[in-house]
Amino acid sequence: MKVVIMGCGRVGAWLARLLDADGHQVTILDNDPYSFRRLNFPRQPSEFKGTALVGNGTDQEALKRAGIEGADVFFALTQGDNRNVMACQIAKHIFNVPRVICRIYDPLRQEMYSDLGMEAISPTTVFAQMLKEKLES
């Protein structure tokens, strides 16, 4: 699959490596080239073979350069909920990417965008739930 990831933080970089190792064609986009250091994890033999591009994922030109037009999946994983939401809506409504997955920290916003048909995950609710279950087990 052709995958475009916006945001090369811990999660974005980790996901890029996982998908790359599985043989997917991965392009990762970040404003800050320094963040690409996370693609080279220590003590791991395989190298990231995908593409790392400097660019703003809420900019249509940058997304085009990242190959959004032929992508099968788009992930928005920056720190900013609103940036993620906007990039996902660009991917979905302008570039018609078949699958668009969005991280939204704020549970209320996550709920609203899920209701609007977006595949949105709130790490806040997921992790809080996990911690609660840990306590109860």
Binding site: T58, D59, Q60, E61, G80, D81, N82, R83, V85, M86, Q89, I90, H93, I94, D106, L108, R109, M112, D115, L116
Partner: protein
């Protein structure tokens, strides 16, 4: 009208001042406490400190009875989300977003934002008006119709000088609405109108036909 403004920065500040002067009930949502305090000190308690993209904040400021929400922060994505939350959670009938990247206009409209204002485009339009060499000026976009009103000035070197309108290849869907000649009366152009250098034509066209229209009227 009850108008909620998101963002108390420089644009927001002058906007709320003007809105209050016009007699509207205004409330500003601003994240920064010092900006909030400054506004409250000057204009009375009209600034609420909070994140205008959060449904909880918008509920607290009574968004469900707002007639309009105007998002004028410096970030396009924040303005988009504030408008979407206002629309979908609180059924605000008019949402207005400031945008920096003119490309976002199409996206925002598609996503239900009623009005977008692109500061970049506004400045560009003023430059077009001020720079006399620019043969085509955007006057107005006719809302929700895909059409716009433009002004075209016939430059002295244009091949159309001395020709009649009948001889031009005006792109389909474009109407020449008004013909302005220095010292003359304004008229509706007819097929027999002969063009002279310096004539101005007001036309209704579409963004797609704009280039063809410019070429038809002004190319050398």
């Amino acid at each position: 009208m009850y108008i909620i403004v998101i963002g108390g920065g420089r644009v927001g500040y002058y906007l709320i001042k003007a809105l209050i002067e016009e007699g509207h009930e205004v409330l500003v949502v601003e994240k920064e406490s010092n900006i909030c305090e400054a506004i409250n000190d000057e204009m009375g308690s009209i600034c609420f400190r909070g994140d205008g993209c959060e449904a909880a904040t918008l509920a607290e400021v009574g968004t469900e009875r707002a007639d309009m929400l105007v998002a004028v922060t410096g970030d396009d994505e924040d303005n988009l989300v504030a408008c979407q939350v206002a629309k979908h959670k609180f059924n605000v009938s008019r949402t207005v977003a400031r945008i920096r990247n003119p490309q976002n206009e199409v996206l925002f409209k598609k996503l239900g934002v009623d009005v977008t204002i692109s500061s970049t485009n506004v400045i560009l339009e003023h430059i077009e008006e001020e720079v006399p060499t620019h043969p085509l000026t955007h006057l107005l976009a006719i809302e929700n119709s895909g059409q716009e009103i433009v002004e075209i000035r016939i430059p002295p070197e244009a091949a159309t000088v001395g020709k009649t309108i009948r001889e031009l290849s005006i792109p389909p869907g474009t109407k020449l609405a008004l013909f302005i000649r220095e010292g003359g009366r304004n008229r509706v152009p007819t097929l027999n109108t002969v063009l002279r250098a310096g004539d101005r034509i007001i036309a209704i066209t579409t963004p797609e036909s704009e280039a063809a229209l410019r070429t038809a009227l002004t190319s050398a």
